[in-house]
Symmetry: C2
Subunit: 387 residues, 2 copies
């Protein structure tokens, strides 16, 4: 049966019908008066989502473009930066910084482990002459399903006083609490195909007043990603370059949905989806790649024991048209990843788990009692929501 | 009446239903096997459209992102470049180059006039020690409706032998002949919301073997716009960063339409739309901002005489829901621009002209005989197509 694809990857995530319909509207002129209220509403709701009074700027770019904008607007060649690396996207931050000749110092952890905030504290406290210009980390590491302790790392950055904190929140924003202003996060990069519930094509960069101060003296070259241009035009509810207008139509819809659901409920839903998924994986006798204490509410990475990950993924696709994600880089074929980010309900998790059990049976897996996975999730979902 | 907007601006251009429907499909995983044939087909058809055997790479970015990629991948700080400036987009090339500390020498012409190829010849012939690394021009200057003589300028660049020719073909590609390989164009940048007939959100950069040679030693920093990464992944029918998958769905549709129409017919249609529009504007006693010999087949800029441009534009929108474009920068309010690029038929031009006559009457304009505009275009359209 065609056209029954169920996306359980960490992006693109499922898109609601209302957003797909909005996407299919005929475009309008981006310099027309009709576009102004759309930009105005989207901008206001993006600020709500980021819990900030500062700027959230929209780029026609994927998440990596947003990440790069987060670097090139606030730093100068040779600047010393601490980059947290415990997965593919942490490594990408380091690559972006190296491409721009920053002085990169990596703070690493094994893939599947969380970054140790103490290592950041030590480096920052030792930096008496304030040479560290930025601390750059990935909040939810999509490649491993680990949620780094942004709050603790950020606390050490705040004690340093000078360094900016620049955060890839691509798979955390909208799924877990990232109170930009309350915590004093300086730069947050994210992308449309995640909790935003629309297809890939837009990147977002939120910028604190402290980061705008750094912008004034930052010397890395930029043009298309020059956030000053975006800020200037955002003040007129416009954009410096032709924006992806149809993506704005869709984003307008999903931001309304998110606002209606409410931040607390959004976060609570993702917590429940994560807990249900993890309880099921454990009950099915498979290993969770990330420990409970550092688990991302966006994605669960599973290291199967009896059966190869690729066999499971491939049969899930073939038999049930459910797309799961492969591991990345050295984890290819070693793990599979279940996305539960964005437009995902408890029913979706139950479907996916029931399909997973069926696939495990078909593959001859005999180390679990059929039904235990679905039941473990169902028990979580049967508990009243805390919100 | 709502939802009857007719886009007659130079972008976004009208989008066919089939592309809008494709845009509204549920996204699929960009790393899934289902996406590979889509990338393969789109890539093949992009090469057909560019008349090249070399690479055409797809970026999630607007046209300016594609332009910037055309600079940062092939040049190094301090490189001497000649930039043709006779409108807003020529000026933008110069701004991009200056943002990256290139040694920019502008060759200018008044807005509304074409660049003089002789000025390029002189500079290039005088450059005995081959310090000019690139000649950068806008083919169809969207801000004024002027088509620069790419073929002649390129001939002088070829005689220089060392310099690359880098071209903004954002509103020319697909509307006028740009035979990349036959002419030896090195870099061509374009954007999705133009002759491609889909909404804004994708940028395209075509790269010649000579440009790839320059890439090897080019030192400008880049990451998201690093075309080497795109080339590497394009070989596997993939992309280095999450692509705008829904835009690919739409692009797949419109490239098929373009291929079915055929290059010669595409170019001939745009010629007829241009000629019909220009004949009507003349008959209506208004000034054409660009001369016939240098007129762009994508867009006609009109300098009205009796009535202010803004009054005409505003009444066209109010009475007939037809969007015309304003002038840009110092031409704001001085001209209006009629886009006839992409999914535009002769019927559309007749509609727009009939509406324009009606608006001129309503505004009390008395220097034309009602009907002459539409009739002038109709006479052009009554002639048999040369293809």
């Amino acid at each position: 049966m065609d056209d029954k694809l169920m996306l359980m990857i960490p992006g693109p995530t499922p898109v609601p019908e209302s957003a797909l319909r909005a996407l299919a509207k005929h475009p309008i002129g981006h310099r027309s008066s009709d576009f102004i209220p759309i930009v105005a509403e989207v901008t206001e709701n993006l600020k709500w989502l980021h819990q900030t009074k500062s700027d959230v700027l929209v780029l026609t770019a994927s998440g990596t473009g947003a990440m790069e904008a987060g670097i090139v607007n606030f730093l100068s060649p040779g600047d010393r930066v601490l980059v947290g690396c415990n997965g593919k996207f942490g490594e990408r931050w380091a690559e972006v910084c190296e491409a721009y000749n920053l002085n990169v110092e990596k703070i690493t952890a094994d893939w599947g482990k969380a970054l140790d905030p103490e290592q950041f504290r030590e480096k920052l406290e030792a930096d008496k002459d304030k040479q560290i210009k930025a601390v750059i980390i990935t909040h939810s590491e999509t490649s491993t399903g680990v949620l780094n302790d942004l709050e603790a790392i950020n606390r050490h950055v705040k004690n340093h006083e000078k360094a900016l904190i620049i955060v890839d929140a691509v798979t955390s924003l909208g799924a877990v609490n990232v109170p930009m202003d309350a915590w004093g996060i300086d730069v947050i990069a994210s992308g449309s195909q995640k909790a935003y519930m629309i297809p890939p094509g837009l990147g977002f960069v939120a910028v604190s007043p402290k980061a705008w101060e750094a912008y004034k003296t930052a010397k890395l070259p930029r043009y298309y990603l020059d956030l000053g241009k975006y800020r200037k035009d955002a003040a007129k509810n416009s954009t410096p370059f032709t924006p992806a207008v149809n993506m704005y139509f869709a984003l307008q819809e999903t931001l309304r949905m998110m606002k209606k659901e409410g931040l607390e409920n959004l976060f609570a839903r993702h917590q429940r989806l994560m807990k249900g998924t993890r309880a099921a994986v454990k009950a099915l006798g498979m290993s969770l790649f990330a420990a409970d204490e550092v688990a991302s509410p966006a994605i669960t990475a599973v290291a199967p024991i009896q059966i190869e990950a690729d066999k499971i993924r491939s049969l899930m696709k073939k038999r049930f048209d459910i797309a799961l994600a492969d591991g990345q880089d050295h984890l290819k074929g070693k793990i599979f990843r279940i996305g539960h980010l964005g437009f995902v309900s408890e029913r979706d998790i139950l479907s996916a788990l029931a399909a997973l059990e069926s696939v495990l049976l078909e593959l001859g897996c005999n180390n679990f009692t059929p039904g235990v996975g679905v039941t473990a999730a169902a028990r979580i979902f049967a508990q009243p929501s805390q919100n």
